[in-house]
């Protein structure tokens, strides 16, 4: 792993004193390799390495730490600073209902995340309501309906010939009549470069004013993560990210890239297909997973 690679590099460092540029160059190559293999964005890695290098060169080699430990310490500090050093919580409207809209690319895990989020809120004493606004994917509405029914969460949708905005508005009405305090809207997967589909989300946002818009991102996403996140931020100014499929072995570098480039926090992570597989995001755990 990275720390053992850095140990090897600095094993030959005989003199006590300062870390020279040459010492740091070799170490930075290893850190860069680790981050790129973890799918952190190329440009984000470049900026990150520049910051770490600046801090590492000329650093006094302390009595208490080996040079490798010191470089690792700097890397971890900078990573945690980028990832956000505190857990970011889901925020709720000052007066109910809180409206949460889930958006993202095709197949990222939105529909299952909607159901999981509703289930999670229910176990915390809230009264969630699910709206199925994906009229495009075959049986998408059935998918959310089955999940809602299995977990006894009130649900609204309509025939897939109904425009999504109409479904959302009618759903909110039904939720309010139901006395629900959190309304979760599942939307169809779409490409960030599909102007018409992005326009549909902008329209729902302006008409319905969701309290939270969450971008659902697959943990195995590679370099394209920044393109997607930037476009969704520019069009919708989303509030946070749900990262899914972290039960696999993807390093999840996209998490770092998205945070670095949009400054929006990852709020929740999904670690499985079961309904209770949603967890709060721990930035320090993510940082060490990325470093490998």
């Amino acid at each position: 792993n990275l720390s053992s690679k850095l140990q090897d590099i600095f094993a030959k460092l005989k003199s006590r004193g300062k870390l020279t540029e040459k010492d740091v160059d070799a170490a930075m190559r290893e850190v860069r390799l680790a981050l790129l293999e973890a799918d952190v964005n190329f440009k984000v890695v470049k900026d990150f390495i520049a910051k770490v290098r600046e801090r590492a060169v000329g650093v006094e080699v302390l009595e208490s730490l080996t040079p490798a430990q010191q470089v690792i310490k700097i890397v971890n500090e900078e990573l945690t600073r980028l990832m956000g050093s505190t857990e970011s919580k889901l925020s709720f409207a000052p007066r109910p209902p809180t409206i949460i809209m889930l958006v993202g690319l095709q197949g990222s895990g939105k529909t299952t995340a909607a159901a999981k989020l509703a289930y999670n809120l229910k176990t915390h004493g809230r009264r969630p309501f699910l709206i199925g606004a994906d009229v495009y994917r075959p049986a998408a509405i059935d998918q959310l309906k089955v999940l809602a029914n299995e977990n006894r969460i009130p649900f609204y949708s309509d025939d897939p010939t109904t425009p999504p905005l109409k479904i959302v508005k009618a759903g909110i009405k039904a939720a309010n009549q139901d006395g629900s305090d959190v309304i979760i809207i599942d939307t169809a997967g779409r490409l960030h470069v599909d102007a018409e589909m992005m326009g549909e989300l902008e329209e729902i946002k302006s008409e319905v004013r969701p309290h939270q818009i969450l971008l659902v991102v697959d943990a195995m996403t590679g370099q394209d993560a920044v393109n997607v996140a930037q476009e969704f931020r520019n069009r919708l100014d989303f509030d946070g990210v749900i990262m899914t499929k972290l039960d696999g072995d993807a390093r999840g570098g996209a998490a770092l890239s998205i945070k670095a480039v949009t400054e929006r926090p990852i709020k929740l992570v999904s670690v499985g297909e079961k309904i209770d597989s949603l967890e709060p995001f721990h930035p320090d755990r993510m940082a060490s997973r990325i470093l490998g």
Binding site: L33, L36, E37, A38, D39, N41, F42, L105, Q106, G107, S108, G109, Y136, R137, P138, A139, A140, D142, Q143, K145, V146, L147, E150, L191, H192, V193, D218, A219, M220, T221, G222, Q223, D224, A225, N227, V228, K245, D247, G248, D249, A250, R251, G253, A254, E273
Partner: protein, 278 residues
């Protein structure tokens, strides 16, 4: 970016940036650039456009494959097992493959062997109706192996040309789920009669380096015959297939470029490389 300029460190840096941002991965990128530098030195190349042409040739060489004889036999009956991690586009891709075969005058049968996920059977059923093809399905929660068994026997009895088997998405790290897939393949292999059995792995073009782990483990478990790269209509370049082909020699057969049943193209290495290098 890659117009007429000197061959210097900056050019190599720019090439590296293009390849890494295409998800080719740092290891494959370094190897490709080292090979390029050797050829530039040996062939005494001094124009940057030539370097770019060599780069494209190198990438196309990696992606080219000799398609096996069995693929060219248009009279062969086929059983096509479609696998991959969650959400990559398996079910939708089966609809697209079915469409191609129907257009080619073949009889097609679908098997709804994802008996796990909510509304998975309903999703494939809707496609079957749109395509006007038959579908073999059981109750949700039933044994997927039983669906496969029934579907193959139905296809054999009807002498159906093409049987497409949809499976549940699963992460390659779940040993029990990979074992389930191995069992499904064993049954398909045993019962297929005179049909050719093909295993196609569906990979999302937005996938980063984890795509290599996916290909490795699915190949280890099942022996994968080809890859279908989906969602290439986005901005991701799908360069991970280069690293996969380099290491595992598994060729890309088709690319998915949209959500409709017509949005599937045969893989063309030259076009793919042109789009990747940009």
């Amino acid at each position: 970016l890659l117009s007429i300029r000197k061959i210097d460190e900056e050019l190599w840096d720019d090439i590296e940036a293009i390849l890494i941002q295409a998800d080719i991965g740092i290891q494959s990128t370094m190897r490709i650039i080292d090979n390029l530098k050797d050829r530039v030195a040996m062939q005494k190349i001094n124009e940057s456009e030539q370097v770019i042409e060599l780069l494209k040739e190198e990438l196309v060489d990696i992606l080219r494959f000799e398609s096996p004889q069995t693929l060219h036999d248009t009279t062969a009956r086929r059983v096509i097992l479609v696998v991959g991690v969650n959400g990559t586009g398996k079910t939708t891709t089966i609809a697209k493959l079915a469409r191609r075969y129907v257009n080619a005058g073949k009889s097609v049968l679908l098997a709804a062997a994802d008996t796990f996920r909510a509304a998975a059977i309903e999703q494939l059923d809707i496609w079957a109706k749109r395509l006007n093809v038959d579908i073999i399905k059981h109750e949700r929660g039933s044994d997927p192996a039983a669906v496969v068994y029934d579907a193959i026997h139905a296809a054999n009895a009807r002498k159906t040309d093409i049987l497409l088997i949809d499976t549940a998405g699963r992460l390659h790290t779940y040993v029990n789920l990979m074992e389930e897939l191995k069992k499904i393949k064993r049954i398909a292999d045993r019962e297929k009669g005179n049909a050719q059995l093909e295993t196609l792995l569906v990979i999302d073009a937005t996938t980063g380096q984890n795509g290599i782990a996916q290909a490795r483990l699915f190949d280890e478990a099942l022996k994968v015959d080809g890859i279908i790269l989906t969602k290439l209509d986005g901005t991701a370049k799908g360069g991970i297939v280069l690293a996969i082909q380099d290491e595992l020699k598994i060729p890309v057969r088709y690319v998915g470029v949209g959500e409709g049943m017509e949005d599937l193209h045969e893989f063309n290495p030259k076009e793919f490389v042109e789009a990747l290098v940009g």
